[in-house]
C-alpha cells in the first residue's frame, strides 16, 4: 500500500483525487494507538511503581537461581562426580541443558534478525523481548559447557592465548568450534540487542530527566550514547541494524549447526548423522518459539499488551511452531529410515533402542511433545485460545529438552561395545542446577522487564499507520485512541 502511495505523490494531480482501493493490511498495533500512547505504555512499565507481583516473582526467581549457584559452587569445590555422569555417559544433563538453552535462544535472534530481513513487520512487538530471551538463554546455556569441564580453572586453555606452554587449541574439534560459535553468538546477540535499545534508552533518559530523576536519567543516558534521534544517525543506524540482522541470520543458523556438529562429527551411533544441522536448527526455532510464547503470553496478559501483541502475532508464532515441529517430526522419521537404509547394525540398533530401549520413556515424551503437540495448531480455535496455546508451548519446551536428552544420553548409553553399556540417571545436584537456571533466566528477565523497554518503541511507531510520510496512515501523529482510522 505504501508503495502505491509513494507514486501517488508524484502522479498527476488528477490521479490524486483517485483513491485506489486500500488493501487490507494486517493490523500490527491495534486500535490505532498514537505514538505517545506507545511511549507511555512502554515507558510506563519502567517508570511506574514496582508492582508487588514483580517483587514476589523476583524473590522467588532469586531463590530458584540460588540452586544453580549452590550447585555450581559444590561442583567446582568437589568435582564433576557430584553429577550423575559416568562411563559411558560422559555427557548428560550438562550438554542437554546447554543445547536446550541455546536452542531457546535461537528464536530470539530469528525473530529479530530473519524476520527483520524478510520485512516481517509483525516482529516488532516481540523482538526486543525475544532478543532479551536470547541473551539470557545464552547466559544460561553458557553456564553448562563452562562448568561441565573437569578443571574449570583451566577453561582459558580453550582460547588461543599465547603462553609459555606454546601449545595451541585443536581447531579440528567441534567443541573448539563451539567455543567460537557460542561466544560469537553471545557477543553479537548482545550487540544487536543493545543497538536496538539505543533510541529507546534515549527516550527513557529524557523522560527521567523531565521528571527530575537525574540518577536514572544519567544511567540510561550513559548507555544511550547521546542519541538524539537525528535522521542522519537513523540513516546509518538503520543500515547497521540491517547488517547486524543480516549477519545474525547466518550466525543463528551456524551456531546450532555447530552445536549439532558436536554430535554429528563424532562416530557414536545416533550422533554420527548428517541430518543433524538442519534438524537442530529447526528444533531450535521450534523450541525458541515455544519459549517466546511461554514468556510473552503471560506478559501480554499482565501488562495488557493485547494491542501490541495481537492475535495475528500469536497466529504467526503458532504456525511457525507447527511448521518447525513438523520438520522436526520428519527428521525423527528420517533418522530411522537412514539407520535402517544404511544397513549399519550399530546405527540401526541405536535408533531402535531409542524408541524401545531403556530410555523409551524419554523418547515417547519427546515424540508426543514435539510431533503431536504442534499438530493442534492446525486448528484456528486452538490458536485463538491463548491459554491453550500457552499450555501447548510449555509442552514444546519440555519436548525439546527431552529431544536433546534422547539424542545425547541414549546414544552414549548404548554404543558399540555392549560390555560398556550403562544407564545414566541424574544426581540431585544436576537436577537442582538445571532447575536453578530457570531462576537465573527469570531473574534476568524480570530485571529486563522492570528496567528496559520490553518493546522497541521506535520500531513500533514506525509500523503504525501514522508513521507513513504521505499521510495515509492516520489523521495525525497525535491522534487520540478514539480517532478512527482514516480508511
Amino acid at each position: 500500500m505504501s508503495h502505491a502511495s509513494e507514486h501517488a505523490a508524484d502522479a498527476p494531480a488528477i490521479l490524486r483525487e483517485v483513491k485506489p482501493a486500500v488493501l487490507p493490511r494486517a493490523v500490527l498495533v491495534e486500535n490505532n494507538r498514537s505514538f505517545s500512547w506507545i511511549t507511555e505504555k512502554i515507558c510506563g512499565i519502567i517508570e511506574g511503581k514496582t508492582p508487588t507481583w514483580w517483587w514476589v516473582c523476583f524473590i522467588l526467581a532469586c531463590f530458584v537461581a540460588s540452586f544453580t549457584v549452590a550447585g555450581l559452587t559444590y561442583l567446582v569445590a568437589t568435582g564433576v562426580g557430584v553429577w550423575g555422569h559416568a562411563n559411558p555417559v560422559n555427557w548428560a544433563w550438562d550438554i542437554v541443558n546447554f543445547v536446550f538453552w541455546i536452542g531457546i535462544g535461537h528464536a530470539g535472534t530469528l525473530i529479530s534478525a530473519i524476520l527483520c530481513l524478510l520485512r516481517q513487520k509483525w516482529r516488532t512487538s516481540i523482538n526486543r523481548a525475544a532478543e532479551a530471551m536470547t541473551i539470557f538463554a545464552v547466559v544460561c546455556a553458557a553456564i553448562f559447557p563452562v562448568f561441565h569441564v573437569g578443571r574449570i580453572w583451566y577453561a582459558w586453555f580453550l582460547f588461543p592465548i599465547p603462553n609459555s606452554n606454546i601449545i595451541w587449541q585443536n581447531f579440528r574439534s567441534p567443541l573448539e568450534w563451539d567455543v567460537f560459535a557460542v561466544s560469537t553468538y553471545g557477543t553479537v546477540s548482545v550487540l544487536f540487542w543493545y543497538v536496538g535499545l539505543i533510541p529507546d534508552l534515549a527516550v527513557l533518559r529524557d523522560r527521567f530527566f523531565a521528571t527530575g530523576n537525574k540518577f536514572r536519567s544519567f544511567l540510561y543516558g550513559l548507555f544511550a550514547l547521546g542519541w538524539r534521534g537525528s535522521n542522519r544517525h537513523w540513516s546509518n543506524y538503520e543500515m547497521a541494524y540491517l547488517i547486524l540482522a543480516g549477519v545474525s541470520t547466518p550466525l543463528v543458523l551456524s551456531v546450532h549447526t555447530i552445536v549439532s556438529f558436536d554430535f554429528a562429527v563424532s562416530l557414536i551411533p545416533g550422533w554420527h548423522t548428517t541430518i543433524f544441522p538442519p534438524y537442530f536448527v529447526a528444533g531450535a526455532i521450534f523450541s525458541g518459539f515455544g519459549m517466546v510464547m511461554t514468556l510473552m503470553l503471560p506478559l501480554r496478559a499482565i501488562y495488557g499488551l493485547k494491542d501490541l501483541i495481537t492475535q495475528y502475532h500469536i497466529d504467526c508464532m503458532c504456525k511457525i511452531t507447527l511448521a518447525t515441529g513438523t520438520i522436526v517430526g520428519y527428521a525423527y522419521g528420517m533418522e530411522f529410515f537412514i539407520a535402517w537404509y544404511s544397513g549399519n547394525p550399530y546405527e540401526g540398533f541405536a535408533f531402535i533402542n531409542r524408541a524401545f530401549g531403556h530410555y523409551s520413556w524419554a523418547y515417547w515424551i519427546m515424540i508426543s511433545c514435539n510431533v503431536i503437540t504442534p499438530q493442534f495448531f492446525w486448528f484456528k480455535a486452538v490458536r485463538e485460545n491463548t491459554a491453550l496455546v500457552w499450555v501447548l508451548s510449555i509442552f514444546v519446551n519440555v519436548g525439546m529438552w527431552f529431544e536433546r536428552f534422547v539424542i545425547i544420553v541414549t546414544s552414549l548409553a548404548r554404543d558399540f561395545l555392549p560390555s560398556s553399556w550403562g544407564y545414566y540417571s541424574p544426581s540431585v545436584v544436576e537436577i537442582f542446577t538445571f532447575f536453578g537456571t530457570f531462576g537465573v533466566f527469570s531473574v534476568l528477565f524480570l530485571l529486563f522487564i522492570r528496567f528496559l523497554p520490553i518493546m522497541p518503541m521506535a520500531e513500533l511507531k514506525a509500523v503504525t499507520p501514522q508513521a507513513d510520510v504521505h499521510g495515509h496512515g492516520g489523521t495525525t501523529g497525535h491522534g487520540a485512541a478514539e480517532v478512527q482510522q482514516a480508511h
Binding site: 560469537t184 523522560r207 535522521n231 547466518p250 511507531k461 499521510g471
Partner: protein, 177 residues
C-alpha cells in the same frame, strides 16, 4: 553565551509535515541541518537528500578481516607453530578451519558495523545542543523537529526562520550552543 546560537529548531506535528518541510530545506540547499524523529521515518533520507550509508563498506572490511584472521590463526597455530598429529587429520585444512573462520567473520562484521556506525554518527556524544532543547523529550516521543545549524554557510537567522515557517514549522526556537 550570547554568541551565535547552535541553530534553529522547528517543530512538526506529523510525519507528512516533516517530510515536506525536509524536502524544502533540502531544496533550499542547506547542508548542516538535521531532522529529529522519534523513529526512523521511511523515505526521509530521500527527502533530506542523504546518500547511502557507508556502514556496509566498513562491515565488509570487518568481515574479510575476520575470515582471514580465522584462517590464518588456524593455519599458523596448527601447521607452522606447533604441528601435532591429531586424529590423523591434516595439520591444516580449510575444511575444519571453516567453522571458526566463519564465526570470526560474523563477529568481526558485527564489531565493524557497530563501531563503524558509531564513528560515522559521531557517537557517543553525550552533550549536544539539540539535547538541551526543552521539548526534546517530545522529540523522542511523538514530535518531529528540524534543526538547521548556524555553521551552515546559508544560515541566516531571519531567512532560515522564514524558510522553516514556510515549511510549516512551529515553535521555531534558537538553540543554545
Amino acid at each position: 553565551m550570547a554568541a551565535q546560537p547552535h541553530g534553529l529548531i522547528a517543530t512538526f506535528e506529523t510525519t507528512p509535515d516533516l517530510y515536506h518541510a525536509a524536502e524544502q530545506v533540502r531544496d533550499a540547499g542547506y547542508r548542516h541541518w538535521d531532522c529529529i524523529t522519534p523513529f526512523p521515518v521511511h523515505g526521509l533520507d530521500k527527502a533530506m537528500g542523504l546518500k547511502r550509508s557507508i556502514v556496509p563498506r566498513i562491515s565488509l572490511a570487518g568481515g574479510i578481516t575476520g575470515f582471514i584472521t580465522g584462517m590464518t590463526l588456524i593455519w599458523w597455530t596448527g601447521e607452522v607453530d606447533y604441528p601435532l598429529i591429531v586424529g590423523g587429520k591434516p595439520m591444516f585444512s580449510p575444511m575444519f578451519a571453516f567453522p571458526v573462520s566463519y564465526e570470526l567473520t560474523i563477529l568481526f562484521t558485527a564489531f565493524a558495523t557497530i563501531i563503524g556506525m558509531l564513528v560515522v554518527n559521531g557517537l557517543p556524544r553525550h552533550y549536544h545542543p539539540v539535547l538541551k532543547y526543552d521539548h526534546i523529550v517530545r522529540g523522542m516521543d511523538d514530535t518531529f523537529f528540524i534543526v538547521i545549524e548556524s555553521r551552515d554557510p546559508r544560515f541566516n537567522l531571519a531567512n532560515t526562520k522564514a524558510l522553516l515557517e514556510k515549511a510549516g514549522g512551529k515553535a521555531i526556537t534558537e538553540l543554545e550552543p
